[in-house]
Amino acid sequence: MSDPRFIKVNPPEGYEGAGFFATSFDKVVGLARKNSIWPLPFATSCCGIEFMATMGANYDLGRFGAERLSFSPRQADLLMVMGTIAKKMAPVVQEVYAQMAEPRWVLAVGACASSGGIFDTYSVLQGIDRIVPVDVYVPGCPPRPEQIIDGFMKIQELVGKESLRRRYSEQYRELMKAYKI
């Protein structure tokens, strides 16, 4: 596998010997998860257009294991909110998040999803973190595909390192309760 066209995934830390390799279960699961994230694109405006470029051949998010977009929240791992979320749309975003199976992550792409952006107005939700917990924020208005990929790689990092017990922790339950999910 020394062909530079193929990038292999490095194995996690562990003990290696003749004919065996041992590591923790967390790391193996994390490795598998982070390299096959199924994103659900929730694209409402121009950030969504940048996402289309990100999925296109030039940038190709598929290189990071996200080839398969999931248009059903039931099978998605990552909710990518890209664009302005109006207050009227907020319950919809929350419902989509609630329908996703654990473990689930959220990426807020662009200024509007992160903070309301330029739309400091009565009708726009001032950041999706008011209705769902956000893992990574991508700044920009709109962000370039490189930035979206950077945000996605940050998500991958989080996914890879997450403890298998986190979603059962009291802390996590409190977090969900705080968002009334």
Binding site: S115, G116, D120, Y122, V124, Q126
Partner: protein, 164 residues
């Protein structure tokens, strides 16, 4: 049918109910008293000479310093001669209500709901006058001048840098 004919016919039919006419601008504008609005609109739609069969748009205005602070503007279109007409009516602040046009133009239904949603103008007789664009739990009318445009819950903005 030119502007003078329309103005003349309206004045002849409704007299004092026609408060003001302005043919100088792009579209002939007629300001009418609100209690005669429905009657005048029905006349404009149904009279054989007029035939303004299409309600292009309907919206509100708010001039907080004026004696009658709320306004409703109707845009009519007559297809036969491609003639447009603007009707305005002004309402007092303590009773911003006007008769609905939904019985004449079914298309007025959502437009009146929108006007109610943003200005709080009551269209009496409307079959379903509730918010249409804003969230249901909104407790004010955002296009009225006394309410600020900005979302009041935002915490990350320092007022000093935004001139407030």
């Amino acid at each position: 049918m030119d502007s003078e004919t329309i103005i003349g016919t309206l004045r002849e039919q409704f007299g004092d109910a026609v408060l003001e006419t302005n043919a100088a601008a792009d579209i002939l504008t007629v300001t009418v008293r609100r209690d005669f609005l429905h009657e005048i609109m029905a006349f404009l739609k149904n009279h054989e000479l007029m035939g303004f069969s299409f309600l292009t748009d309907l919206t509100g205005i708010h001039y907080p310093d004026s004696e009658l602070p709320f306004g409703v503007v109707y845009h009519l279109h007559q297809f036969v001669e491609n003639k447009r007409l603007r009707i305005k009516t002004f309402l007092p602040g303590d009773d911003p209500s006007v008769k609905t046009l939904t019985d004449l133009y079914p298309g007025a239904n959502w437009m009146e709901r929108e006007t109610y949603d943003f200005y709080g103008i009551i269209f009496t007789g409307h079959p379903n006058l509730k918010r249409i664009l804003n969230v249901d739990y909104m407790d004010y009318f955002p296009m009225r001048k006394e309410y600020p445009l900005e979302d009041q819950t935002r915490e990350d903005k320092d007022d000093r840098y935004f001139g407030r």
